[in-house]
Symmetry: D2
Subunit: 209 residues, 4 copies
């Protein structure tokens, strides 16, 4: 276990730092009296059991290695939750502009919804961690999603855990219709958001006149 | 401000303690290898601006007093989020059984949905805080709701803040249809939950045979 | 391990609650514009390895049991650090007056310094933890000490870990003279404290005149 | 206040990030089964009242400005506590090697003890904070000291606050003799540390033989 602990330590450090950094962005919006596109932020290091499952799936040896670090891009994972779908591009842009992370890859499961109904925006980043043995550049995954996307995904995740991905037809159907309901909710909210912004524009014009 | 800070201090202490206590319940379920009916817990002391608004609304004097402590039952507020609607009665029962809080009142806005579409279960509790000047019994509000209820409520709350409660017809309609979508989502999820439990029962029977 | 985790869970919960409660006392002094007798608070659950060592030492079976819970009174441990020796009786009195803990035993290693040079005040308390399976009353140890006492104790502890309690004569002598220096530091500080308080009294008389 | 809050926000962010980063170094030593030269880490943003006092002292205008950011180098402050004096150079070297901070200045109040008796090692660093409005490079101060140095300094600080730096002769003398006692404690501890390391070397040789 000591070997794994050492291997995972920079990932844990990266998650801690990224959480502090992204939560800080939220605080900065609030201090500037702007509504934050970030609602809240969570993070985790992939549990050993999930790493093991993943190595089986990918035909990799289950031991700490550069190969593993290269193949498993979500050992360090951070999740950003937004209130509105339209907040997501804002968050993506803010992340692209940061100097302390390098975006390596982006996967847009919002435009291209997964067949399961899963929606989310994924960014794979390279992040430098200053360790006591020198700098270590690790890969991390940032997931950006609305509260509704997250709500659905967390339920699918726990069902997945039960059924190992092979859902009974009945449950599959329900999950899908739930995904649609979540998606509809997001759409309606988007429309309200536009109206808020229009209302705000109106008031601003008025004030400046 | 010093006077208000002193008045609010036991409420802040109560929120901190209640958060630790309810988060602890979640951890206990996990350690027992049972799925937790509690998904996550948040808490806050009512901001001074909101206390001020409330005194105006209720025709009270805006100053720290026993009257205020008696009339405003949500100065200390804790919120428990559940994955499924059926987790809510479990949480209510667990709270009723605790020796360290006294349930003073319960309001069921899930059975009796508010006209706005608001759904949530509220408990007003009495909670003893041991301060450096002796024990102080304060009132606190615990809100119990699903993630979908919370999702809708947080959006309604920010719109409320914009429109001061007087929504344009268009937005009112959208909020209501969103409330229905959120509610539908919860219902579908409930059905899936039952199937999971049936599935679990089946597996359990099989194992014991 | 699952069995131990379950056994230790209420202790972890107790440590979390006691830390929040004692840190809260500090905050209350600050809000009241009084200097706090509490400088900072730490806590820990006794690591399994130390529990194991203790069972060997006491001739107990190393397994979760009521016997163990009764014999090992410091499985849950909280430490209160004070700036001045004279703050310690104040903290003791505040703890005795709380309704949410029952003081079971007190050991005064400040009046009765251990031969090693160890100084600290220990209180064994009974503390009720509301768990999901009902109330559980556990034992916990609260240690109260000055920063200087703590400084010395933490160094002795790490040496103890190295030498398993059997110190070479040289080191034993040094530790003892260090203990004396730490003690002298506390005494001198106490004298300054009295002068501060006299000065404060003087100023107060002057103001009231 | 809004203006000050915005000015101070990147400093708060820097303190949060630096705390996470330096605490992480401690964790890395532990995971590598090496004794950590870092005992614990604290941090704070300079309170507005202290910033005000400093502007008076330096003849600066009390308002958020680049001038202020340049002149006050300790608006963001982080403190690293060590068990032994000999741990301090190790920490300094680790900080110099990090790529994410630039050391701008170093002040060695351990070799050159202040007349008051104050001992500590100060590093002024430049630290880039990625904000929502782009990167901002701020100055921060890292103080490195032993527990004994910190113990004495925290008491001197609270007396300073009382006496505004002009101590009565009596107290000045006591503070000085306390500083000497603290210093003596550190020296004795250093000697023990060397013996531990010699002991360790001995054991290691033995093992490898």
């Amino acid at each position: 276990m000591g070997q794994w602990e050492r291997f995972l330590q920079p990932y844990k450090q990266a998650v801690d730092e990224l959480k502090i950094k992204l939560k800080g962005m939220r605080a900065q919006f609030e201090k500037s009296n702007e509504t934050s596109p970030i609602e809240f932020v969570t993070g985790r290091v992939k549990p050993l059991a999930s790493i093991y499952d993943k190595t089986l799936e990918k035909g990799l040896v289950f031991e700490p290695s550069d190969m593993l670090a290269h193949e498993l891009q979500d050992i360090a994972g951070v999740r950003v939750m937004c209130q509105f779908v339209d907040d997501i591009p804002t968050v993506i842009e803010l992340l692209r502009q940061r100097n302390d992370i390098i975006v390596v890859e982006e996967r847009d499961y919002i435009t291209n919804v997964k067949v399961s109904g899963y929606r989310s925006y994924h960014m794979i980043i390279e992040y430098p961690v200053a360790t006591i043995h020198g700098e270590k550049r690790i890969l991390a995954e940032i997931q950006i999603r609305t509260l509704a996307m997250n709500f659905w995904a967390s339920i699918e995740h726990s069902l997945n855990y039960k059924y190992k991905g092979i859902f009974p037809e009945e449950i599959k159907n329900r999950l899908q219709s739930a995904a649609e309901a979540a998606s509809r909710l997001d759409e309606e909210m988007s429309l309200i958001r536009e109206e808020i912004q229009e209302a705000q524009k109106y008031f601003t014009e008025y004030k400046e006149a």
